[in-house]
């Protein structure tokens, strides 16, 4: 089995180059078709995300797998990017390194935000796409299935994915869910219509939030955001009434002064809430809610700084899990490579067995003709004796092959066996 990977990732390549080399949804199929014409014997999978563009190639023999330079040429050629433009920024890996890299990518150890869960789905999708287009065969199947298995092991056997690191996910999963048991009956109020509000609403929708109200100075923006999340836009003048009714507030206005002061909260909101819990995510810079509001009874106010501190702690927790995750990747890589080496020895083993089986059958036939008086029981005993003898003769060389496969491709041993037993044909 021969494997190669060429591509660029966020680690070594700037975003401008990555953007130039990125493949849109419609381009992936076209690119794979073109490359299959150029490398008809190779199996190919293309993984293109915001942070990486990687082309995996493989084949059962060395001649079937294109050289790294050819793969780089194909990758750059599709976008007509000159080689000088990406000098030193394109990564080329082969065999064991390519396998380990894919495992680390799938397990999200190579991601910009280590442990983020989307990459596994993207890897799976890239393989499925290639399989549907016919550019991935048994070699890529083995490689990607084992990569998904390694990623699942990292997911289940470490706590890498348990610590959330994005602000909206920490806000909802780590804090809001400690206040509320469910979100489908909660009144969610969004102040402003910034990008962060959009992202937070996605998490809230996933958590079950349905009663979403958007208040923004620009009613048009409020309507747009409300439409995108199945909510309702309400006029800015309704702000105090909405704050009285709200259970959870997400605030992301661009105001340069606090939108809700402590005095205004005490006057317009607190007396009407009867100390009902209010969870406020103030994601605006500068803040929309005066910090003193967080000291009011049953009010839980979180600013960007509070959430960023929690994210940083989670990030450190993930870093602590990295060694365990890397150990899993290493073990899985070793297992895959050993399997690949064993598979490389399979034709020799088959030939070896055939070389002994054929004379065995011929000799048994000759013997039974010479001794026609043998009954069925005696014939069966003799046949079993011959089988045991062949197996015992085969055992030492097969064991040696297995042991040698653990350390690397047992090419020397295979060649010796081929010559000794005349297996060339």
């Amino acid at each position: 089995m021969n494997l190669r990977m060429v591509g660029c990732t966020h680690r070594a390549t700037g975003v401008d180059v990555r953007q130039q080399l990125a493949f849109g949804e419609n381009q992936v199929g076209d690119a794979l078709d073109r490359w299959r014409e150029r490398f008809p014997q190779a199996e190919l999978v293309l993984l293109s995300t915001c942070n990486r563009v990687e082309l995996y190639a493989g084949g059962p023999s060395e001649s079937a797998c294109p050289a790294s330079d050819d793969l780089v040429d194909a990758l750059l050629g599709y976008h007509r990017v000159p080689a000088e433009r990406v000098a030193g920024q394109v990564m080329t890996l082969a065999q064991r390194e390519a396998v380990a890299h894919l495992y680390r990518v799938a397990a999200s150890l190579d991601s910009m935000v280590v442990g983020e869960p989307q990459i596994l789905a993207q890897v799976k999708q890239a393989y499925q796409r290639a399989a549907e287009l016919g550019s991935a065969g048994p070699v890529m199947h083995e490689l990607f299935q084992s990569a998904l298995r390694a990623a699942r092991r990292v997911h289940h056997e470490t706590e890498l994915h348990k610590h959330r690191v994005s602000i909206p996910s920490v806000a909802i999963a780590d804090f809001a869910s400690r206040v509320f048991e469910r979100f489908d009956d909660k009144h969610v109020l969004v102040l402003g219509a910034g990008k962060m509000a959009d992202e937070t609403l996605r998490y809230l929708r996933d958590a079950g939030a349905r009663r979403i109200f958007v208040v923004n100075r620009s009613e048009e923006r409020a309507r747009q955001l409300a439409a995108s999340c199945g909510g309702k836009a309400v006029p800015w003048s309704d702000l105090w009434r909405q704050l009285v009714a709200a259970d959870l507030v997400v605030s992301t206005t661009a105001a340069d002064q606090p939108v809700v002061t402590a005095a205004a909260f005490d006057e317009h909101v607190a007396p009407h809430r009867q100390q009902r819990p209010l969870f406020i995510l103030d994601l605006a810079v500068p803040r929309d809610f005066e910090p003193a509001i967080g000291e009011r009874l049953s009010v839980y106010l979180y600013s960007l700084d509070d959430l960023a501190a929690a994210c940083e702690l989670n990030r450190q927790s993930r870093v602590r899990e990295l060694p365990a995750a890397e150990r899993i990747v290493l073990a899985e890589t070793d297992a895959f490579i050993a399997d690949a080496h064993r598979r490389a020895a399979a034709p020799v083993i088959t030939g070896l067995r055939r070389n002994l089986e054929e004379p065995k059958l011929a000799e048994l036939e000759r013997l039974f003709k010479k001794l026609p008086d043998l009954d069925e029981r005696a014939k069966s005993e003799i046949t079993q004796f011959a089988d045991r003898l062949v197996n015992k003769l085969l055992h030492p060389p097969l064991e040696s092959l297995r042991d040698a496969s653990l350390e690397g491709p047992p090419q020397g041993l295979l060649d010796a066996l081929k010559r000794l037993f005349r297996l060339e044909d």
């Binding site: 804090f175 400690r178 509320f180 048991e181 100390q275 049953s298 702690l313």
Partner: protein, 310 residues
């Protein structure tokens, strides 16, 4: 006991469940939650067996002695604990609930096993009195546990402490719901238990209630508090939410502790604890006056003069 099941069996099971819950603060292997449920269920089976055997062999069990009464309350808490573990699998609820259960079992161990020598009364009403007060106690204890967890969770959220993967607590909304329902249920259950005791007492030969008795007095205080707290909660909307309900249930627990302390005294109308080695003549005298014993066994053991006994 003859069956081979003794208090050590279920105490050990619940202690193992608690040890596993505490171990979860450091490490949380996959099998831990299953082991906790297994230990708790094993404890409940042994506990049920123990109470069943006592009910079968002792005419005054399962609620007529302080020992049985405390054990029945602990059993009710254990039965509540298992569904809570299954419903809130990632939370450390057991760290708060199991010590309360074990404390009840510990108190039961030291409590008198003699029947409560109260007053001659029909067995049914005696049982109603005992069962409702026991369930009221369970409700107050549940409210207390939920209240403590609420205050801890609220404090952690106010201080913006990051999510702990080990000491996870249920959401404030869930804890508040448990708190509110416990308070309401405790008020109703204790009221029914208290008034059935009063009415039963009035229906006896003596026909009067010993209002100055420490148990009656402290129970009246607890009932007044629970009813008052529930009325306050219903009338004042702010008291229906958040920390106020938690404080109300915590205060209810203080009243409960005071009541149980008086219940343990032996100079009250409910008799009480004299340790495990009560004299046999006292036992038979208690059995003679027993309100909860089966009528047949009571009649069988009652001498002719018992008709006029107080």
């Amino acid at each position: 006991m003859d069956s081979g099941v003794n208090m050590l069996c279920f105490t050990a099971s619940f202690a193992v469940a608690l040890a596993l819950e505490i171990a979860g603060l450091w490490t949380r292997p996959r099998w831990r939650r299953l082991a906790v449920v297994f230990a708790a269920v094993a404890g409940i089976v042994a506990h049920t067996w123990y109470l069943g055997v006592r009910a079968g062999t002792s005419p005054w069990a399962p609620l007529s002695s302080p020992h049985d009464w405390y054990l029945a309350a602990a059993w009710a808490l254990a039965v509540i604990y298992v569904p809570v573990v299954l419903y809130q699998p990632r939370t450390a609820t057991g760290i708060f609930l199991l010590p309360v259960m074990l404390a009840l079992i510990g108190v039961a161990y030291g409590a008198s096993r003699d029947p409560i020598p109260t007053f001659a009364a029909p067995r049914f009403w005696g049982m109603v009195h005992g069962v409702f007060l026991m369930l009221g106690t369970v409700a107050v204890l549940l409210g207390f546990v939920a209240g403590v967890m609420y205050l801890i969770q609220s404090y952690r959220l106010k201080s913006k402490a990051p999510l702990s993967q080990t000491l996870r607590l249920p959401s404030l909304e869930w804890l508040e719901r448990v708190n509110t329902r416990s308070l309401g249920a405790a008020a109703v259950l204790v009221a029914v238990g208290f008034f059935t005791g009063i009415l039963t007492r009035l229906a006896t030969v003596e026909g009067e209630v010993p209002w100055t008795d420490p148990v009656v007095l402290s129970l009246s205080g607890m009932l007044s508090w629970l009813v008052g707290a529930e009325a306050f909660r219903l009338a004042y909307p702010a008291a229906r939410r958040g920390r106020k309900v938690a404080y109300l249930t915590l205060a209810g627990f203080v009243f409960l502790v005071f009541t149980l302390a008086t219940f343990a005294r032996h100079d009250t109308v409910h008799g009480g604890s004299e340790g495990r080695g009560a004299r046999s003549e006292e036992k038979s005298e208690a059995a003679r006056l027993l309100p909860f014993a089966p009528r047949s066994s009571l009649l069988a053991s009652r001498p002719p003069s018992a008709e006029a006994a107080p």
